[in-house]
């Protein structure tokens, strides 16, 4: 069975995020002076073929720890695991 995952990788709290700061600095110039705490992260989509959903989740967890994120500076969150075929890819005829 194939499962589609989304993994969100974010800079850990407390670490200065220069990209987020730059975006935050630009927002007031565009009229949005009330926005704050901008943090920039990564969104990774991937498909895993596994026997069970639990096995797939555990594998994605390990992949996120060992490659998708750097535990020194980043944390991650597995947002969803959707069994494929995903309706978006199905024939709509």
């Amino acid at each position: 069975m194939k499962y589609q995952f989304q993994v969100i990788v974010s800079l850990k709290p407390g670490l200065l995020d220069p990209q987020g700061k730059a975006i935050e600095g630009s927002l007031p110039a565009m009229g949005w002076a009330n926005a704050s705490n901008v943090r920039v992260g990564k969104h990774v989509e991937l498909v895993v073929d596994a026997e069970t959903e639990a096995a797939a989740v555990s594998q994605v967890d390990e992949m996120a720890q060992r490659l998708l994120s750097n535990p020194v500076i980043e944390s991650y969150r597995i947002v969803s695991s959707v069994p494929l075929p995903d309706p978006r890819f199905e024939d709509v005829s």
Partner: protein, 236 residues
Amino acid sequence: MSAGTPRVGVVTFPGSLDDRDALRAVALMGGDGVPLWHGDRDLRGVDAVILPGGFSYGDYLRTGALARFAPIMEEVRAFAGRGGPVVGICNGFQILCEAGLLSGALIRNRQLRFVCRFVDVRVETSLSTLTEGLVPGEVLRIPVKHGEGQFVARPDELARIEAEALVTFRYCGPGGELDDEHNVNGSAGWIAGIRSPQGNVVGLMPHPEHAVDPDVGPTGGQPLFASLLTYALARV
């Protein structure tokens, strides 16, 4: 080459830029430069290894994150484990951090701009493969050129790095002073380079291989290569 000439391997990854300069610097300083290939599992019997600067694997995902899985990195890790001297310059430093051979991580420069210029760095310890024979406090002029060179670590890790005197180089003013103006990328503790507890693994953002030839500029890299060759020679 005489029997007493240390052989220094320089690894070329897809996207490495400074491998040629590193080989040239090794030769200029009296060593025997040995080109190594990322896809090989063979260090060709070298006495020291340099991971050069550049943009290995296009800096995809994170700088250095993919290079650490190159076949040759297994050999580099084993070599470092046996006490072999391993030096990571710029992207090489990022690779060593990602590989867990050095502590901390390197993120985008505080000012969000790529920085390319000569800086002064202060030697903090003589207990490393790059600084053996140098006096702590000595200031060297060496260029930097990076967009992601801001050194960070968890507060407890940073405290350990300082407590164990793992900081090898700090960005500084011409007289060795530490002030905000001379922290070229906003690194924690002005850290420009660190070492492993044993001192055989060193990573730094500045490029000593671009500062060895008096015909083209300052020569702050010379004593570092001299130290590396001496350190490597002890293993020949």
